[in-house]
């Protein structure tokens, strides 16, 4: 059965359709094109024509023209709209014109760079010209590095390598820096939060060195659809950009199905789980031979679903290679193999985390199943875009979980279909991040009195501080690096923590092998001792977690359960920046806090029934994070009138409401912020609800929330009041079992007081 037939059949199936809240058909769209622009080198036309390209899509032509005018350009288009042409054509034209020209390509991951380079190779080979394109990353052999540095016209790398491998050794890259004409950064929507704030500073360093070498490179940036591509690009590079977003690429017909699993316990408002529903929809696609990708929110769900689907197609020998799991933590070789399998059609079903959201080339798939809302509109569209890249009908299923945001989306499909996607926020001036890169910059090239660092604030303060600390040595107007450390090695661009944990399978005592890795913040949750760690649907038990050495030792097991850890969070105040009264006697404040996270216990949960089988203790050190926060303090006289257990339930209700509302109005991913409540807060000594940026130093979300501190409470109240449930449900204040019978009432009462 093909996709159209399947869609027709489902639409006639009343049992299925009664839980569908919306079946949206997005009609096919024809191509809009323009002739090859004058700025394109004539030698490129035959190569394009050979590929059946006789004109450019409008966005390709417009971005080339803007680049030719000398502007920095940001191109925003969906998956598979031929955006690589937007940078390959101007770069190749420039090098064809002047063979001394150099270009630097930055991709967020190695896998992406490998894909893009092979396309570039093909074009260069067909032209038969001497343009050398090299990938420079951790996998580049030492012997080849010299050639890359000397002769590479186009150097393809990632921000991490630029940061630690290229910039601190810039004197070895004279040819590149002296002749750098274009800096291409693809997938800039991934550079939000910590990663983006780091990249912005890496680019400040890069531009500073270009100035030293006398080059003035132009930027060509590409982004998937987000709300603020221009703002993001300008914050990243610190200069104005020209936005090109008139997508001229064609698109096939797409069906978008919103599915809300049926309620199975009306009293408690409990719905059938998203996982079993996904299991049957993905299973149906698999049985019908429709190549599909299933997205799950957590690594754990990916593993559980992979196992279910594998069980459906296992041959007598137990092999189920047609179904693969895919997520961060798999080793690169394994991932490449899965990607190849998808392109070649040997893999029919892949279950993935958002790791496959990015433009990794896995070819065109027919269907996409989202098990739960990925958290942001941008990322939901990215995931949906995996189905139907070519012309032809494709189908996307969104399966709502009982999480409030999922319920909001599935019940308000219009919000999803018409709301502009989220903002990508970053804060290059986050003091932690700025200071780290400032050190790197000082190492790379001494600062002189009066020097700036991009548009970073108060460079003289930073210089003074680092001199006081003895890290810089100020003499005759210059600040010289005078410490033994190599500052770039102290920063990891992708998280605040430097090192990753490696996961070692010790099942075979003679052959210990590394099967994956995990970042320092996630490790306590998933790799604590006795955790069941899942990899490609296989179960392992963590035998030992060596926290200091960052190693987890696991052994293959076969048990009927998985584990889920509980995280305990403690907050303490570092500094209050602003405080404002509101609603007569309530207060809102903005400041800095320390968040201490500790995993203390875990649950064992049975497969299939998902019932809790038991508990276990976890003994691991705490992890600390300094970040920005804002908080609402309840008026003492209001709080005094409510019994403390009722107050607690009401505050929990408000916190839950804010968790739903804030991501929508701050336009961020739910995991970017955290909302907690404290009946007697150590910060204010009063009942307080705290919202903080969920990354070290913060990226500006708390500031933004502080600016809408009253609006957020109003919107929270509106959600609670509009919700038809009586005592609370997962879509508003939380289920009755969690907030108690008076939770919803108390929450609304408190919110009324606060929004007076």
């Amino acid at each position: 059965m093909n996709v159209s037939q399947l869609a027709d059949q489902l639409r006639r199936d009343h049992m299925f359709m009664k839980d569908v809240t919306r079946w949206e058909v997005i009609p096919a769209r024809p191509a809009r094109t323009l002739p090859f622009p004058a700025s394109m080198d004539a030698r490129l036309a035959p190569v394009l024509e050979k590929r059946g390209i006789h004109a450019l899509y409008t966005h390709q032509a417009h971005s080339m023209e803007a680049t030719a005018r000398g502007e920095d350009v940001t191109v925003v288009t969906p998956t598979a709209s031929g955006k690589t042409m937007c940078y390959n054509l101007p770069v190749l034209s420039a090098i064809l014109k002047d063979p001394d020209s150099r270009a630097l390509y930055l991709f967020p991951t190695k896998a992406l760079s490998a894909d893009q380079v092979s396309e570039l190779y093909d074009m260069i080979e067909e032209m038969g010209v001497d343009i050398k394109t090299y990938t420079y990353d951790g996998d580049t052999p030492a012997a080849a590095r010299k050639a890359v540095r000397q002769a590479g016209h186009i150097v393809v790398t990632n921000p991490d390598m630029l940061h630690s491998g290229i910039l601190p050794h810039h004197t070895k890259w004279v040819k590149l820096f002296e002749n750098l004409k274009y800096i291409v950064i693809d997938e800039i929507h991934t550079y939000r939060g910590v990663f983006g704030s780091n990249l912005a500073n890496v680019l400040r360093r890069l531009l500073r060195l270009c100035e030293f070498y006398g080059s003035h490179p132009q930027f060509i940036l590409c982004s998937a659809t987000i709300a603020n591509p221009k703002e993001l690009a300008e914050t990243l590079i610190g200069r104005p950009v020209t936005l090109v977003d008139d997508n001229g690429a064609p698109m096939g017909e797409r069906h978008f199905v919103f599915y809300n699993p049926p309620v199975i316990n009306r009293q408690l408002g409990i719905r059938k789980g998203a996982i079993p529903v996904t299991r049957s929809i993905s299973g149906m696609l698999l049985k019908n031979g429709i190549q599909a990708i299933t997205f799950a929110r957590s690594r754990l769900t990916v593993e559980v679903l992979t196992r279910y689907l594998k069980d459906m197609v296992r041959d007598p020998l137990g092999n189920a290679g047609r179904v693969r799991g895919y997520r961060g933590g798999y080793l690169p070789g394994e991932r490449r193999e899965i990607e190849r399998g998808l392109r070649a059609g040997q893999v029919d079903a892949v279950v993935s985390t958002n790791a496959l959201e990015l433009g990794i080339d896995i070819g065109a798939l027919d269907a996409c199943v989202m098990c739960g809302y990925p958290g942001t509109i941008a990322s939901a569209w990215q995931q949906a875009g995996r189905a139907g890249r070519r012309q032809g009908t494709s189908i996307v299923f969104f399966i709502a979980s009982s999480a409030a945001i999922d319920q909001y989306i599935v019940n308000h499909p219009d919000y999803f279909l018409h709301q502009s996607p989220e903002n990508a926020l970053l804060n290059p001036d986050n003091l932690y991040i700025l200071l780290s890169h400032f050190k790197c910059a000082a190492f790379e090239l001494p600062f002189e009195d009066g020097d700036g660092f991009g548009n970073a604030p108060a460079p003289e303060e930073l210089l003074g501080y680092l001199s006081d600390e003895g890290i810089l040595h100020h003499v005759e107007g210059r600040y010289h690096w005078s410490a033994e450390d190599f500052p770039a090695s102290e920063i990891s661009l992708r998280s605040a923590a430097a090192e990753n944990f490696i996961i070692i399978d010790i099942t075979d005592p003679a052959h210990h092998r590394v099967i994956g890795e995990m970042d320092r913040f996630t490790a306590p949750m998933l790799l604590h001792e006795n955790a069941i760690y899942m990899h490609e649907g296989r179960q392992f038990q963590v035998e030992k977690l060596d926290f200091d050495a960052c190693k987890a030792f696991i052994r293959s097991v076969d048990v009927g359960y998985y584990t889920d850890a509980d995280l305990n969070i403690n907050l303490s105040l570092l500094d209050i920046e602003k405080e404002e009264p509101f609603a007569k006697t309530a207060k809102a404040a903005l400041g800095e806090i320390k968040v201490t996270a500790l995993v203390t216990m875990f649950k064992k949960i049975r497969f299939d029934t998902h019932e809790t089988l038991g508990f276990g203790h976890v003994r691991l050190p705490e992890t600390d994070m300094h970040t920005t926060a804002m908080w609402w303090t309840l008026p003492p006289e209001v709080a005094a009138k409510i019994p403390s257990d009722r107050l607690k339930n009401g505050m929990l209700g408000i916190a839950n409401l804010l968790r739903i509302v804030c991501p929508l109005y701050l336009m961020c991913a739910p995991q970017d912020i955290a909302v907690v409540y404290q009946v007697k807060s150590p910060i204010t000594d009063q009942p307080t609800i705290i919202l903080y940026d969920n990354c070290p130093g913060g990226i500006g979300l708390s500031q933004k929330a502080f600016g809408m501190r009253e609006l957020l409470l109003e919107k929270a109240m509106q959600v609670a009041e509009d919700c038809p449930c009586e005592y609370g449900c997962p879509s508003c204040v939380g289920p009755v079992g969690e907030v108690g019978e008076d939770g919803k009432r108390t929450a609304i009462r408190l919110l009324r007081e606060l929004t007076k």
Binding site: T171, L431, L435, Y465, G470, H473, V475, E476, F486
Partner: protein, 403 residues
């Protein structure tokens, strides 16, 4: 909190210090003179001897007084923020050995220091360092570039003693750092020496306090390193001229390998022969045989393999090599098969540790064994068939199989 306080909270410690600024018109220049007796034979070093040791292009009329021995002391392990604050340059004169040291008393003196280095290097034909190809020269290159100065003075033929020493002594010593070489090879352990790893911190402390005496240890250490370079080079040259003086078989064998690398086949074989009686006799024997095979002297090679088999030396290697010889060169398939079988049975001896390499060798041998069996069969069948046509057809068939 003001920004400075915040920075302290973010950055950790608050150990602020103030230092007096310093101005300079030149960097500090020091000189150390060592008597000729410490460098025996150094003035008679010839280019042809060095050519046995290095593939650098050296002038024919090389004057040992025009070799520059150079070593730097730096503020770190590399990257463009690392600075060479002390550059020592040593050379032979008719009277002895002179070391000239250029010290940057503070960062503004770096351009002066670099100018001295550039001018100094211009007066020499050959550069000699220890690990200079990967460390000192790229570092100086980087410093010249950062100060927008010409780096061409660095383009001298370069004798990097680290690599030359490794080739000679790594097999016996394992690690080949300068301290260990002084102790074991030259028999002069250093006393009261400042460990290299403490150099950067010592310099930073000096920068803060400006107590120049803090640098005495570094200056002494640097001068000693440079003198050692000259002694070491001449000691090695002596060994290359007289390998029979070398006490350790490992070293003679290693020298053979080093010579062979530079295509000095005859000298290399001389070393291998000398080393055959030693602890590494098997290695030397194999190397000698491989050397013969490489120049097409297959019978000599085979003779060595046969000798090793007779003396039960060298493990399976001689069997394997001889089997190749019989198969491909002598076309004696049954003999090749017999040798392969012997090799396999040798590998199956229970005393042998069954590691991965053994397994790999086993697999290769099995593969060879089956190929030989197949060949033998084909040759037999073919032989019967071509028997009618005569000898010539048989040879053609064998030749084709070999290809």
């Amino acid at each position: 909190m003001n920004l400075r306080d915040k920075l302290r909270a973010v950055g950790g410690t608050g150990n602020a210090q103030k230092r007096p600024a310093e101005t300079a018109g030149d960097c500090q220049h020091l000189a150390v003179y060592r008597p000729m007796e410490e460098f025996p034979g150094a003035l008679s070093l010839r280019a042809e001897t060095l050519r046995m040791m290095s593939d650098q292009e050296l002038p024919d009329d090389l004057d040992p007084r025009r070799i520059l021995y150079l070593d730097t002391e730096t503020t770190g392990l590399g990257g463009s923020g690392t600075v060479a604050f002390l550059v020592g340059m040593g050379f032979l004169t008719d009277q002895g050995f002179e070391v000239h040291q250029f010290l940057m008393r503070d960062y503004p003196e770096e351009p002066y220091l670099l100018r001295h280095v550039a001018a100094g290097m211009g007066r020499f034909d050959v550069l000699c360092t220890f690990n200079g190809t990967t460390f000192d020269v790229p570092l100086l290159e980087s410093r010249f570039l950062m100060n927008r100065m010409d780096r061409e003075c660095l383009d001298l033929p370069h004798l990097d003693l680290l690599h030359m020493c490794r080739r000679l002594w790594k097999l016996r010593l394992g690690r080949c750092n300068l301290g260990r070489l002084e102790e074991v090879i030259l028999g002069k352990p250093r006393v009261d020496d400042l460990p290299g790893s403490e150099v950067p911190q010592r310099y930073f402390t000096y920068l803060k306090t400006k107590q120049i005496s803090l640098l005495d240890d570094i200056l002494r250490h640097n001068a000693q390193d440079i003198a050692t370079l000259c002694v070491l080079l001449n000691h090695m040259a002596d060994l290359y001229l007289h390998p029979e003086q070398i006490t350790f078989g490992e070293d003679v064998y290693s020298m053979g390998r080093a010579l062979e690398r530079l295509h000095r086949t005859e000298s290399a074989r001389r070393c291998y022969r000398l080393a055959r009686k030693s602890r590494v006799g098997d290695l030397a024997g194999s190397a000698l045989a491989v050397s013969y095979r490489r120049t097409g002297e297959r019978e000599q090679a085979a003779e060595i393999w046969r000798g090793m088999i007779r003396e039960r030396r060298g493990g399976v290697t001689p069997y394997v090599e001889l089997a190749k010889h019989e198969e491909h060169y002598r076309k004696n398939i049954p003999e090749a098969l017999r040798l392969t079988e012997l090799a396999i049975s040798l590998l199956n001896e229970p005393s042998l540790r069954q590691g991965e390499t053994v397994q790999q060798t086993k697999n290769e041998l099995q593969y060879r064994y089956h190929r030989l069996r197949r060949k033998l069969k084909e040759t037999e069948n073919h032989g019967n068939y071509v028997g009618v046509q005569g000898q010539q057809g048989h040879e053609t068939a064998a030749g084709r199989e070999d290809g």
